[in-house]
C-alpha cells in the first residue's frame, strides 16, 4: 500500500492506474475495494489528508479542520439557511458520521424500482448486496457496556409516551461507547471505510493520493480517461502542484455536492437537465433538554436509539451527544447566558428531529468555483418540524427535564409544556427555524432513461463514457434513514459491474 501526500508529488506529477476513484468515503471506498479485489490496480484520490485511528481525539479545534470539508463552514441557502457538514479526509464522511447502518424502508425501494424501471433497484434486487455490505462493516447492535445514560433516557421516554422505538444497528465491532463518532473513532470500533473497505483495497495493491483536489476530468475523444487536479500545500493551503492520473475508468464519489460540481464543469447531463437537481438533505432540528440530574451523555455511544413512532409521517427522533466544542457552535446565546447553559453540560440530553424531505433543491456552480446549494423548506416540512419539536420536547418534560432549548430564533427556551403550546402561535415564518444537516443526496440520479436521469444503472454518466458516479448523488429519492449502507451497496454494485464490463472488453 502506498499513501502519498503533498510533499511526495513533483511540480507536475503523472500517474497511471486501471481505475481512478475520486473520494474515499462510503461510495469511493466500496467501489474501489470491489475493483481492487477483482485484481484491478485502483488509485484513490482524496482531497483530505490521511489520519489514522490513533490520531483521533476529542478536541474540536484539532479535528474539525482536518476531518471536515471547509472546516464545516458550509451552508445551504434558501428558505431557511441550513448549515451542512461533509467529511474531507481518507475515509470521508464515514469517519465523522454517527455510524447508523440502516437499509432504506421497503416503500422507498419499491419507489426506486418503479422510477428506474429495474427490479435490481428493488427490495429483492438489492438484498444480496445489502447483506454483503452489512457483513463488511459489521452492522450490529450495541453491547450493554457501550450504551450511555442519554440513550437510556430516550428509551425510557419512548416507553412512557407509548411510542415505538428501535435500537440502532451500527457499523461497529466491539464498540465501547467512546462517543467521539463525530471527531473520528479513537478505538477503531466504528467501521468507517478507513478501517473496513480501504484496508481491503490496500491489501490488494490499491494506492491512495491524498491532499489532491480534483479540478477536472481528463477527456479524450469524448471518453473520460483520467483526472487532473492540484495538490494542496498543508502549510499554506495553496494548490500548488499539478497531479494527473490516467486510467481506463474514472469513478467520481465526492458526495452529493462536489460530484455534480465536478461534472458541471464539463457541461454534462444536458439531455436530462437533472445534473445538480433533485438535491435532498434530510434536514434536522436540535432539541436540547436539561435534566435536574447528571446524565454525562458523553459517556456512552451516540445514537443507540431511534424513535420511529412517526416514521410514516416523515419524522424520526434520536439522541446525538456531541463534544462541547461542537455544541457551542450552535448555541443561541453568547456571554453569560451561554455559560449558564453550557455549565449544565453534564445534565444535558442532545436530541434531534429528522424530517424526510418533501421537496428537493439544487447544486450549481458559481463563477468562482464555489458550490451554490439551494433548498427551500416546504410548508409541509415546516409543519412537520413544529410537530416533531413539540412532541420531542414534551417527551423530555414528561421525563422531568427542567428546560428545553428549542430550534427557533424567536423562541429558544421552554420551561414547561405550556411554553410548547406557543409554538404554533409564534412559529409562522420558516426563517425562524434553526436547522442543520448531514445527509446530502440525489444530485446525479440513477435511471434507465437518459432523458430523466444523469447516470445509467451501472453508474456510468450517460453522456461521458468511462466516467462513473458512486455516491449518494445516485439516489432517485430521499431514503428517510441514514444513507451510508445504501451508498456502499450501490457503489459495490457499480464496482462489480465495471469489473465485469472490463473483463468482457
Amino acid at each position: 500500500m502506498t499513501v502519498l501526500a503533498h510533499e511526495d508529488y513533483a511540480e507536475d506529477q503523472s500517474f497511471e492506474a486501471d481505475v481512478v476513484v475520486v473520494g474515499t468515503g462510503a461510495g469511493g471506498a466500496a467501489a474501489g475495494a470491489a475493483l481492487a479485489e477483482a485484481g484491478h490496480h485502483v488509485m484513490f484520490v482524496e482531497e483530505g489528508s490521511y489520519h489514522p485511528t490513533s490520531s483521533f481525539n476529542p478536541y474540536t479545534t484539532q479535528s474539525v479542520p482536518r476531518l471536515y470539508r471547509d472546516a464545516s463552514a458550509t451552508m445551504i441557502v434558501g428558505r431557511t439557511p441550513i448549515p451542512y457538514v461533509e467529511g474531507r479526509c481518507v475515509g470521508g464522511s464515514t469517519v465523522i458520521n454517527g455510524g447508523m447502518a440502516y437499509r432504506p424502508p421497503e416503500r422507498v425501494l419499491a419507489d426506486w424500482e418503479r422510477i428506474t424501471r429495474s427490479s435490481d433497484m428493488g427490495v429483492t434486487g438489492l438484498d444480496e448486496v445489502f447483506q454483503e455490505v452489512e457483513h463488511t462493516i459489521s452492522a450490529n447492535y450495541q453491547s450493554e457496556v457501550s450504551v450511555g445514560e442519554d440513550s437510556r433516557l430516550m428509551e425510557a421516554g419512548a416507553k412512557k409516551m407509548g411510542w415505538h422505538y428501535t435500537t440502532n444497528r451500527r457499523n461497529q465491532s466491539a464498540c465501547v461507547g467512546a462517543n467521539n463518532c463525530a471527531l473520528g473513532c479513537p478505538t477503531g470500533a466504528k467501521q468507517s471505510t478507513l478501517v473496513s473497505y480501504l484496508p481491503r483495497a490496500f491489501a490488494r495493491g490499491a494506492d491512495c493520493l491524498t491532499e489532491v483536489r480534483v479540478e477536472q476530468l481528463w477527456i479524450e475523444g469524448g471518453r473520460c480517461v483520467g483526472i487532473i487536479g492540484r495538490s494542496i500545500n498543508p502549510q499554506t493551503r495553496k494548490a500548488d502542484r499539478k497531479v494527473r492520473v490516467r486510467a481506463r475508468a474514472v469513478i467520481v464519489a465526492c458526495g452529493a455536492v462536489q460530484t455534480p460540481l465536478l461534472l458541471q464543469k464539463h457541461k454534462l447531463g444536458r439531455r436530462s437537465g437533472q445534473l445538480g437537481k433533485n438535491f435532498l438533505c434530510h434536514p434536522n432540528a436540535k432539541v436540547l433538554a436539561v435534566y435536574p440530574h447528571q446524565v454525562d451523555g458523553y459517556k456512552g455511544v451516540s445514537q443507540n436509539t431511534q424513535i420511529r413512532e412517526f416514521h410514516e409521517d416523515g419524522l424520526l427522533f434520536a439522541e446525538n451527544f456531541v463534544a462541547p466544542g461542537i455544541l457551542a457552535a450552535y448555541l443561541p446565546f453568547h456571554g453569560s447566558r451561554a455559560w449558564e447553559l453550557m455549565s449544565r453540560y453534564e445534565n444535558m440530553v442532545i436530541s434531534g428531529v429528522l424530517v424526510e424531505d418533501s421537496t428537493s433543491g439544487s447544486v450549481s456552480r458559481t463563477m468562482l468555483g464555489m458550490p451554490l446549494v439551494r433548498y427551500d423548506l416546504t410548508n409541509l416540512d415546516h409543519q412537520r418540524f413544529k410537530r416533531g419539536v413539540k412532541l420531542l420536547a414534551s417527551m423530555h418534560f414528561e421525563l422531568g427535564a427542567e428546560m428545553v432549548v428549542l430550534p427557533f430564533t424567536n423562541q429558544h427556551i421552554a420551561y414547561t409544556r405550556d411554553d410548547l403550546d406557543k409554538i404554533d402561535e409564534l412559529q409562522t415564518d420558516v426563517n425562524t427555524l434553526e436547522l442543520f444537516t448531514v445527509h446530502l443526496m440525489g444530485t446525479a440520479r440513477m435511471g434507465s432513461d437518459p432523458a430523466t436521469s444523469v447516470v445509467n444503472l451501472s453508474g456510468e454518466v450517460w453522456d461521458l463514457p468511462g466516467c462513473y458516479v458512486a455516491d449518494a448523488s445516485l439516489f432517485p429519492t430521499a431514503i428517510g434513514v441514514n444513507p451510508q449502507v445504501t451508498i456502499m451497496a450501490l457503489a459495490t454494485r457499480i464496482g462489480r459491474r465495471l469489473e465485469l464490463s472490463a473483463r468482457a472488453a
Binding site: A5, Q13, P52, N57, T60, G226, G335
Partner: protein, 189 residues
Amino acid sequence: MTAKPSKHEPLPEPKRKLPMASQTPALARHPQDGWTFADPYPMSERYVRMFHAIITILCPPPPAPLTEDMVTRIERHVRGFMMYMHPLAARGLWLSFILLDWAPRLLFMSTKRVSQMERSQADRVLARFASSRWMPIRLLVVGIRGSVLSAYFDTDEVHQRLNYKPIAFMRQRIELRHDLLSESALAAQ
C-alpha cells in the same frame, strides 16, 4: 478538453510512513499522521486587537474562565479554521467581523464600534443583532459567535469547569476495548 497523455511513472517512495489503523492506545496526535496545521489567516495587528475585543465580549465573563492566553488561543484557532474554508467563505467571515464591529455605527445605534464598547453595552447590542428579524444581520452574529464559542468551549480550562473529562474517559474505553478483544481472542482459541 484535452491534455497531453501522461508518461507512466512508478509511484514515488512516500517521504513518511503512514500506518493504517494501528491499535496504539495513545490519544495524542499520531507523530506520523502527517498533519500540519496551516498558518493562521493573515490579519494586521490592528484587526487582531479588534478581534480580541470581540472574542472577549462573546466569551462568558467571570466566574467562567477567560485569560489573555485563552483569548489568543481562540483567535489563533479561528484564524486557523479560516484557512480550511473556501477562500470566499473565509473572506466573507473576515468581512463579517469588520461589519459586526462597525454595525452599531452603521445602523445609528451608537457612536462606538462593538470592540470599543463596555461589555454590558456590547452584550445588549449583539443579543439584539442575534434576534434581529433581518436574516443577514442575524447570520452576521451566528457565524462569528459559533466559531468563537466553539473554540472557547474546546479549551482544557473550560472542560475542567464543565466536569467534562474526555481524555481520561477515552483512555479507559480504549483499554476496555483492548481487554474485550483480548478476551474474545482467548475464547476463540
